[in-house]
């Protein structure tokens, strides 16, 4: 298949407009005949685009493309309303239409970190049909044709000057929104609303995996120069030279922290004392596990997404205790009501059968769990066996440690005795080699409390060697 050829055909179709079906077909055939390898799809192209759209896209983007399909209410950000003609991820000047290639890329790669799937399994021909069909949904796009941004010359990694890039980052005020270290916590990052009246969050630039438009310098360059229309992210095309923009793009890439996605948390056994602080040097030597969090929360049937999207977990232990270190990004430190908070969940002793997913717990399955709970309004963390997300009303065992907030990041350290008589029914870690754990995080700044929170799936805490060798593994959902 020849994508370029198809594209030419597409352009003709769009110019002809959806109303003039007959003229289009003629134009297509003419275009097709003029070339050695006519694309097979041309004759019924528009109809084809619509059919593919209805089959795969309408459930989210709506039958008429207004972003109101049956699944739309469950997505944050919401699916695009194509009829309004806004396109976020372009290679063209702010306000001008995306190129067909831009749309083709979005369809092919999807928008990671949003509900928009990738469609690389559709044939190229089908994807180009979709491009043509999407354009026909926003007639206003034809009035503001794509004005490509200057691409300059990519200096390549070898000639990227990160110091220069950092300076441009400061001069351009990126930190106002994205924060000094790119954690999405700038002074202007709160309360932003997008063009569709929905709350919008500034991108956390350290999470390359969540860049919707791609995490490579080339993608970042485009975002800076073109802006992200429909959102607060402006175009810098008039403010910055292509040379500086490339340096900035490389600098932004250097802010990305490659995630260590793992299903296990490998706790390391230390011979002597355990670290009591978040900054202890030993943490640099301990395997880190990054976990994406589920943020879908409904209140009164409406989606009210939780804001924390990932957490990093580390653990060390000795013959006496285990210390967990959790780190996550949060725009603001909230001591007030509701406060920022965290919970590390463990199954109770002798637990059998499936563990409830934290998202539905305790409503869906009111069985007790052990929660190691920390809340920014209280000094010190506590462990409780409880059937409520906040642990209210149950006996508590204090967990020594600390919580430190620094430029958009919380780091929490909690020490739990391997076994404790003070908390009847709590699991003894002296006997286990593998134990399911899960994490819940509350962002007070996003009005999160009780069941409104971000949660992880259950994953395995693995103790590198058991303290007393007698492996028992409580049951868990596979």
């Amino acid at each position: 298949m020849h994508p370029r050829l198809l594209r030419t055909v597409t352009v003709i179709a769009v110019l002809a407009g959806p109303a003039s079906g007959r003229a289009e077909t003629t134009a297509d055939l003419a275009a097709g005949q003029a070339r050695p390898n006519p694309p097979v799809v041309n004759a019924q192209r528009d109809v084809g685009g619509q059919a593919v759209y209805e089959q795969y896209c309408a459930r989210c983007h709506g039958a008429a493309g207004a972003g109101d399909g049956p699944d739309a209410a469950h997505l944050f950000p919401r699916p695009r309303d194509f009829t309004q003609g806004f396109s976020k991820f372009r290679s063209t000047a702010s306000g001008s239409a995306p190129t067909g290639e831009d749309l083709f890329q979005t369809i092919t790669r999807g928008l990671p970190g949003s509900g928009m799937p990738e469609w690389s399994n559709l044939s190229e021909a089908e994807r180009w049909q979709l491009v043509a069909y999407l354009k026909s949904l926003a007639p206003s796009l034809a009035e503001r044709p794509p004005q490509p941004i200057p691409m300059g010359t990519d200096p390549g990694s070898a000639r990227a000057d990160l110091a220069q890039g950092r300076q441009v980052y400061a001069e351009m005020g990126c930190a106002d929104c994205h924060g000094k270290l790119g954690r999405g916590n700038g002074t202007s990052s709160g309360g932003l609303i997008d063009e569709w009246g929905q709350p919008i969050r500034v991108a956390d630039l350290t999470k390359g995996w969540s860049y919707r438009g791609g995490a490579e310098p080339r993608d970042i360059y485009r975002r800076l120069m073109a802006g992200i229309d429909g959102t607060p992210m402006p175009s810098y095309a008039d403010a910055i030279s292509p040379e500086d923009a490339w340096q900035l793009a490389y600098y932004v890439r250097s802010l990305q922290e490659p995630p260590q996605w793992q299903r296990e948390v490998l706790a390391r056994r230390l011979p002597g004392a355990l670290p009591a602080t978040a900054a202890d040097a030993v943490w640099a030597t301990v395997t880190r596990t990054d976990i994406p969090l589920v943020t879908k929360v409904y209140q009164g049937g409406a989606l009210v997404p939780a804001s924390i999207t990932a957490v990093s977990i580390q653990a060390v232990y000795n013959a006496d205790s285990i210390v967990f270190r959790l780190a996550w990004h949060d725009r603001t430190a909230n001591q007030e009501t509701p406060p920022d908070a965290a919970a590390l969940a463990l199954p109770p002793d002798a637990h059998r059968g499936e563990l409830p997913g934290l998202m539905g717990w305790p409503t869906a399955s009111p069985q007790p769990l052990e929660l190691c709970l920390w809340s920014a309004d209280r000094a010190g963390a506590q462990s409780r066996l409880t059937t409520t997300p906040s642990g209210a009303g149950s006996a508590a065992v204090p967990l020594p440690g600390e919580a430190v907030y620094d430029d958009g990041r919380w780091t929490l350290v909690m020490r739990r005795p391997l076994q404790t008589q003070q908390l009847p029914g709590a699991v003894a870690l002296t006997h286990v080699h593998r134990l399911p754990i899960a994490v819940a995080l509350w962002d007070g700044g996003n009005q999160e409390q009780d069941r409104k929170r971000a949660v992880s799936a259950w994953l395995d805490l693995v103790l590198s060697d058991t303290v007393a060798t007698q492996p028992t593994t409580p049951g868990r959902k596979p």
């Binding site: 806004f86 000047a93 702010s94 306000g95 001008s96 009035e143 503001r144 001069e171 351009m172 005020g173 106002d176 929104c177 002074t187 202007s188 309360g191 932003l192 063009e195 802006g227 229309d229 959102t231 607060p232 992210m233 402006p234 175009s235 810098y236 095309a237 008039d238 403010a239």
Partner: protein, 266 residues
């Protein structure tokens, strides 16, 4: 002729000049200290020599407010020290700006009645300034196709996020003091809202019409649409929170008619 009258006439001449591309539109004056509370006032257009008029009829009047004006809200600027520094005494956002019952920042323009007549767009830009983390003027009129110069007079980042519905939207960053970006709106649209996302309190309105017969009321609440061809017109007065009102008026050559609007305090 009373003092007020002569002022109105002056404004009228300015408007004429504006319509024919000779004058610059409302700009911020340096005499207005940015720390002054009433920053939301649109400056009356200032200009030089009047040019040939397309007509000789004039519609003039004032916009009043009945009832007590709502008290303004204090703008919270802590997030950006560069902004706060410039408003030692604080800044009050007065959406409804009233003095002696007269309402400022009302966009008054000929909505209907010009038929198919066309008026070439001035090539001189209108200027929308960002000064003290506030748009000056707060309400501005331009002709479709006329250049609109966006200026950042502050040593901080602003972004100008224009959200038209019939025109091409844009969202441009102005990270440096003294930066200028020129944009224009191709089609009439009343109003285009412009805002800054770095400073959520910053917003302005641009009234885009395809003729030179528009004005923004100043502190005295007056407006003058001069140089009109004789005819019957629908005049609309637009206010950001109080809505719109229209009136019909017929003027002959050389004639001046008075049309006044009264908005109701919410």
């Amino acid at each position: 002729m009373t003092a007020r009258m002569s002022r109105v006439v002056l404004t009228a001449m300015v408007l004429l000049a504006l319509g024919c591309g000779g004058a610059k539109s409302a700009t911020a004056t340096s005499s207005e200290s940015p720390s002054e509370a009433r920053l939301q006032l649109a400056e009356a257009p200032a200009g030089t020599a009047p040019a040939a008029a397309p007509g000789t009829a004039t519609v003039t009047g004032y916009v009043g407010l009945q009832g007590t004006a709502p008290t303004g809200t204090k703008v919270k600027m802590e997030a950006d020290p560069v902004c706060q520094q410039q408003h030692a005494g604080g800044l009050v956002d007065e959406a409804v700006l009233v003095r002696n019952g007269k309402l400022a920042n009302v966009f008054v323009y000929v909505k209907e009645g010009l038929g198919g007549k066309s008026f070439p767009a001035p090539t001189t830009p209108a200027t929308l300034d960002q000064r003290g983390c506030w748009y000056t003027p707060h309400v501005i009129g331009v002709q479709a196709g006329q250049p609109l110069e966006l200026v950042n007079s502050d040593a901080t980042l602003h972004n100008v996020n224009a959200k038209p519905t019939v025109n091409q939207p844009f969202n441009v960053a102005q990270p440096k003091q003294g930066m200028k970006t020129t944009k224009s709106f191709a089609k009439p649209e009343v109003m285009v809202k412009v805002k800054c996302n770095v400073h959520p309190w910053m917003h302005a309105y641009v009234g885009v019409v395809n003729h030179p017969f528009y004005a923004v009321t100043g502190e005295e609440g007056t407006f003058t649409l001069a140089g009109l061809p004789a005819g019957t017109y629908t005049i609309e007065a637009w206010h950001e929170t109080l809505g719109t009102q229209t009136q019909s008026v017929t003027v002959g050559d050389g004639e001046t008619k008075t049309v006044s609007f009264t908005f109701q305090s919410p």
